[in-house]
Symmetry: C2
Subunit: 205 residues, 2 copies
DNA sequence: GTCTATATATCGATAGAC
DNA sequence: GTCTATCGATATATAGAC
């Protein structure tokens, strides 16, 4: 029966993690309560604490899953790729993430906004190494004359900011666009504009 | 003695408001404690509650002051202005705000990130009207052939995101740039890149 | 206006029966 | 594994002396 028990654990952990992402996104870590997360997951608070001993441990798990998704969005940035296609695909992937997982984006934004207390170590470690590898790809394109000289790090910062604002600050965008919820065409318009801004500043359009 | 009393009140309120901006920025509304704000302001917690009856009222006052500053940054966007100069000045003013008042930017970011519970009404009211007036200026420039057609609202969203990320997510930028604190040259580099992106996408460079 | 002490409420976490 | 009841810690807000 070991396997069946493990399956139940995985099932309940998944329900808790999904509920936690929502509540952490809506309220932030401090204001999020384990009882609210448990209620959304459909179980008593004590059960949540049976699967995740502390709120902090639960939060760390949520954050870990989000970071993995975040890294995946930059798959297109490879040395052999065409710069124009790669940058376009990256922008599209980042917007797609904002559209599909706004709550995940908000949890990450809240973490960084308040000083990255939990991801600071990873930020200085593998995430910084990851960014530098991606920047080296762009530097390579520049060195071989395939695109205009641009500071690659600031280019990433601006692409992150522009794409994530449609998830993190969706309320503001929705109000200003007179939408109850952002539509596909809103993401398309934003994506087209950012793409144009990036490509032209890189001498690719 | 009425005037002297009023002066003392204003002095203490200003100290509390400054401390509150810092604490709200670092921890968010929920995690901020009135005792931490009072300690930073150099007075017992009870005194803070004498000047601001509730934490919520104090937060609302902090937010009001920030919104006023935020609106002021777009002064350059006027019908009679030259589009290239106006957009360049606006980008510079927004970066200057991120550089000088990162805590104010963070308080605002946190408010929007969690659904704008306190500024939702103003967002739909005067802030939306303000944005639409600014967008009308840009539409005017486009109609008279002074710049290329661009969706002005998305242009604003991207400029806001790109400039504010250097305040709101400064920790991430600092780590990635190997800085203990962001330097003037970092803001200059970011500003130059965003300016180039905006001007080229608007057919102004 | 200022300060100490405290009432009241809420939340994270656990004990212990089932 | 699940659930009810509860402990202990912490926070907002105020009472009341000075």
């Amino acid at each position: 029966m070991k396997r069946a028990i493990g399956r139940k654990r995985r099932h309940n952990e998944a329900k808790i993690l999904a509920a936690a992402e929502t509540v952490f996104a809506e309220r932030g870590f401090a204001a999020a309560t384990t009882s609210a997360i448990a209620r959304l997951a459909g179980m008593p608070k004590a059960n949540l604490h049976y699967y995740f001993r502390t709120k902090q441990a639960l939060y760390d798990r949520v954050l870990d899953e989000i970071l993995a998704l975040w890294i995946d969005t930059a798959e297109a940035i490879r040395p052999a790729a065409d710069p124009k296609t790669a940058l376009s695909d990256y922008i599209a992937a980042k917007f797609e993430f904002s559209r599909r997982r706004p709550q995940a984006s908000k949890v990450f934004a809240n973490e960084i906004l308040h000083g990255a207390p939990r991801v600071h170590r990873r930020l200085r470690g593998d995430l910084k190494a990851w960014l530098e590898a991606k920047c080296a790809v762009i530097e390579g394109w520049i060195a071989s004359g395939r695109m205009a000289p641009v500071d690659p790090k600031h280019l990433f910062f601006i692409i992150w900011a522009a794409t994530q604002t449609y998830a993190d600050f969706d309320v503001q965008v929705e109000v200003m666009l007179d939408r109850r919820r952002l539509k596909s065409r809103d993401f398309d318009a934003a994506s087209a504009l950012l793409r144009r801004m990036v490509l032209r500043s890189c001498g690719l359009a």
